[in-house]
């Protein structure tokens, strides 16, 4: 019996030492909040160019706890996130390293990176409004505020108010207009919902196509994904039933969020990590982001993809994302308070 146990333990220990957690010079270890299939193409090119192997561990819940718990023993060198919130949490937790890189400072506008180099935005995505071509008039909805107008009653679809994209949008409203105004607005939106918040952004487009609602809030790249989906051509139809509206062009601009990256304080291969970040901010990777994921590159002068271009250019809200991130908890509580998801 005891022999069986020890055999199992030894077997496990042997297996444990297989993947590349050991320090080797030509490696970089990445913790990613972004799904591997989204980032793998860029990483492959990076390896091809530099000879540095990228090891990835992807997780969403608990990654920050993992970094904190591993402390100085962490095998990870850098992290990738899908929004500003996670970057800010890590900054607050003190697990990030300040990176001073000319390449990064040059390629990334100040608004999309931490002033001391703790984190860097790599792409932006705008939180826009999908509107039914048939059922929404040209100037009927032009701003987020319009969504709270009683004339929209029963016409809005949205994913959970607790999703980080919506939390970020609500937090930006709080920064601009204060808690009270924002709460009034959110209540207005809730009153106009066609159904309980559910699904992801693509599901909202489908609901518009099927006539369950007329407008929805969504991220830009979902539109690109649907428009080019050859394997599921029905999604092209959903997209073609929808007009894109960049809200608030007359005033503060459309809310944007970033996907970003940072180097960890206890990185063992800091140099390689910085190289990876610099590559991700380079022309090559930036245009890949634009072409494959329909995101907006942060590097000025990198052309957006043709598809993205066809949606038109827009004025982005230039408010500090750090400031927005600070109000996320407040936004989450507001969603609870008014029972937005119920």
């Amino acid at each position: 019996m005891k022999r069986t146990i020890s055999t199992a333990v030894i077997a496990a220990a042997m297996l444990a030492s297989v993947p590349g957690a050991r320090a080797a010079s030509e490696e970089v270890n990445l913790y990613s909040y972004r799904q591997p299939f989204l980032i793998q193409p860029m990483l492959d090119v990076f390896t091809e160019k530099t000879g540095i192997t990228v090891n990835v561990a992807y997780a969403e819940e608990g990654m920050l706890e993992r970094i904190k718990a591993e402390g100085e023993n962490t095998p990870a060198d850098a992290v990738l996130t899908a929004d500003i919130g996670r970057l800010k949490d890590m900054e607050d937790a003190g697990v990030l390293a300040a990176v001073n890189s000319e390449v990064l400072s040059e390629n990334i506008p100040a608004a999309y990176r931490h002033p001391d180099g703790y984190w860097f935005g790599l792409t932006t995505r705008a939180r826009i409004i999908f509107a039914s071509k048939d059922r929404v008039g040209a100037d009927e909805v032009t701003s987020y505020e319009d969504l709270a107008d009683p004339k929209m009653k029963g016409r809005i679809c949205i994913r959970s108010g607790k999703h980080l994209y919506n939390i970020s949008l609500i937090a930006s409203m709080i920064v601009h207009k204060g808690v009270e105004e924002t709460e009034k607005w959110l209540l207005g939106v809730k009153a106009n919902l066609a159904r309980k918040p559910q699904g992801n952004d693509r599901a909202q487009a489908k609901a518009i196509y099927e006539g369950q609602c007329d407008v929805a809030i969504a991220n830009t790249y979902y539109m690109g994904n649907m428009q080019t989906n050859d394997e599921k051509p029905e999604q092209k139809e959903w997209a073609s039933a929808i007009n894109i509206i960049f809200p608030n062009q007359g005033d503060r601009g459309t809310h944007v969020n970033i996907s970003g990256a940072a180097v960890l304080k206890h990185a063992k291969r800091k140099e390689n990590a910085v190289k990876l970040l610099e590559f991700l901010a380079s022309e090559t990777a930036q245009s890949m982001y634009a072409a494959q994921n329909f995101e907006y590159p942060v590097k000025p002068g990198v052309a957006v993809s043709e598809r993205v271009q066809s949606w038109g250019s827009f004025k982005a809200d230039t408010i500090s994302l750090s400031e927005v991130a600070k109000h996320r908890a407040e936004a989450a509580r507001m969603v609870d308070r008014i029972g937005f998801d119920q």
Binding site: A8, A12, E61, G62, M63, E65, K196, Q198, N200, E210
Partner: protein
């Protein structure tokens, strides 16, 4: 010579401590302050969380009990066409991850799905206001999906209990004037009650730890609340406190059930095995076939055919070398965990039997309720002690040899095997315990007085008698490990994907056609064990 602290009790205690460690570290997290999170929750959504969770538990509990026990009775006491197939087919939904079933039914039944679309085309309806259709993304929808995927736990245990009931007892019922139905309710069902209760409590623990399904269905359960506090309000302490409350609740439920059962003995003497079987004819047979077919149809066949059709389309995209590697990882980890967890369950169960110490007994009880903790929270609880160990080890090795060892336990396959084993201990220990309970203590005494020591007694007497239960433990843990997600996500090494994580990265984005092949592979890997499982149960009777 001294027996005060012998090897077996000590080993069992260590195993229990190891299994309980993740929970203790969750309790530890709960001790730090969480600001005004509670005040906020109480004044806003907590009541709703609790109400929703209780309704969900009630619905799932009743559903799995009725379907599980009902089909178990039909397949063990009645004869009708197809019963031989249903015997094992009814277990198949066990192999399907609940969230996958949720995706599939949403796709089919939502407003934009094919069913409602066809109805609108047919009837000329335009909008949702023109007609009524049940909302799939709802509490009721979540209950339905969970019942469909969790009833096999009850079926499994209830069936093996029905098969063990001696004909004498049932005959006694008949002689006393009970009809077959009355006999079922008055004799067979009460005798199978402990098994049914264990099955239902496993299903309810799964219900409580589920996040994927309820999140997808936008049902605001207590568990969804734990995630919200953790991730959106950035309060791990608050989340740990909520998880602790959840655990206390589960512990109370289990204790209450045990108190209610106290004083009644359910163990059965060997006797004539069941010989008479109700032959169902005519409409009764049709009803029985329907009752067994529907759960299999909706819990397995329909979801599988949808997955299959998607997998066919995305076959080439998904089936690359990576896919086989992920499958390899899944099989490797699941097999390892099935063995380790069963061995640990055996050590714990046999150790508790030998020592009978209150400490060991409660430790194993606590260890088992870890199953009810939301997976990601348990994952953090597993990670903390492992990283702490690594940290101490590194300080030690750096001081002594100036050699930092890096992470030895955390972020390795060891961490995964440990995490899974701790999580699935309820399954393996439960199976071992129910097997041990059937071996009268005088068997131990007989073997010991005949010169066999404890280990020899285990080898020569208990192991052969437990074979069926050990195999059951291995198979259930294997099937559940194939589906396991949150612990893998957080504790895995670099570049280590399993079928579940591979499937999840697409499913998370509702790209569920891309996820189909992975999901199908998870299910396929579970089918063989499930059929073996069914044969194990039935075989024990012959």
């Amino acid at each position: 010579m001294t027996r005060a602290f012998d090897g077996w009790s000590l080993t069992a205690l260590i195993v229990a401590a190891l299994v309980a460690l993740p929970l203790l570290s969750v309790f530890g997290l709960a001790l730090s302050g969480s600001g005004d999170v509670w005040a906020h929750l109480v004044s806003t959504v907590l009541g709703n969380y609790i109400r929703t969770s209780l309704l969900l538990m009630l619905g799932v509990g009743v559903g799995v009990a009725v379907i599980g026990a009902g089909t178990a009775w039909l397949t063990s006491a009645c004869r009708f066409p197809g019963v031989r197939v249903f015997e094992w087919a009814l277990l198949l939904p066990l192999a399907v991850p609940a969230y996958i079933v949720a995706y599939i039914y949403t796709d089919i039944l939502e407003f934009a799905g094919p069913v409602q679309g066809a109805m609108r085309d047919l009837m000329g309806w335009k909008t949702a206001r023109d007609y009524w259709f049940p909302e799939i993304r709802s509490l009721e929808g979540a209950i339905a999906v969970m019942v469909l995927t969790l009833y096999p736990y009850v079926y499994l245990l209830a069936r093996s209990s029905f098969l063990e009931q001696t004909a004498t007892l049932l005959d006694a019922g008949r002689v006393l004037g009970n009809g077959p139905w009355r006999n079922f309710f008055r004799v067979a069902l009460p005798l199978a009650r402990p098994a049914i209760v264990v099955g239902v409590s496993l299903a309810l623990m799964e219900t409580l730890n589920d996040f994927g399904t309820v999140d997808f269905f936008a049902v605001q359960t207590f568990t969804a609340g734990i995630y919200d506090v953790w991730l959106n309000m950035n309060s791990m302490a608050g989340a740990a406190q909520l998880a602790t409350v959840l655990l206390l609740f589960v512990f109370m439920l289990i204790t209450a059930e045990r108190l209610a059962r106290r004083g009644r003995r359910f163990d059965m003497k060997a006797g004539r095995k069941k010989t008479h079987v109700h032959d169902l004819k005519g409409w009764l047979a049709v009803a029985a076939i329907l009752a067994c077919l529907l759960p299999v149809l909706f819990g397995f066949l329909l979801p599988m055919s949808v997955l299959f059709s998607h997998a066919m389309v995305f076959y080439e995209d998904s089936l690359n070398s990576g896919f086989w590697r992920h499958a390899g990882h899944s099989l490797l980890v699941s097999s390892l965990v099935a063995l380790v967890s069963t061995v640990l369950g055996l050590v714990l169960g046999y150790g508790a039997r030998l020592s009978g110490s209150v400490l060991t007994r409660y430790a194993s009880r606590v260890a088992s309720i870890g199953y009810a903790v939301p997976g990601s929270v348990l994952a953090v609880g597993i990670m903390l002690p492992l990283t702490q160990f690594d940290r101490s080890l590194n300080i030690f090795s750096t001081r002594l040899f100036d050699l930092p060892l890096g992470l030895v336990l955390s972020g390795t396959v060891f961490a995964l095997v440990y995490g899974y084993s701790a999580r699935f201990m309820a399954l393996s220990l439960g199976s071992v315990e129910s097997g041990l309970a059937r071996i009268t203590p005088s068997m131990d005494g007989a073997a010991r007085t005949l010169g066999a020591n404890r280990s020899e007694t285990l080898r020569r007497v208990h192991l052969p008698l437990l074979r069926r239960f050990l195999l059951t433990a291995i198979l259930i843990v294997f099937v559940d490990s194939m589906k396991e997600l949150p612990i893998t996500m957080l504790l895995r090494p670099f570049n280590f994907d399993t079928l579940a994580t591979y499937t999840h990265q697409f499913a998370r984005n509702e790209l569920f056609e891309e996820a189909a092949l992975g999901a199908l592979a998870i299910v396929a890997a579970g089918i063989l064990p499930v059929i073996l499982l069914s044969r194990t149960i039935t075989g024990g009777d012959r």
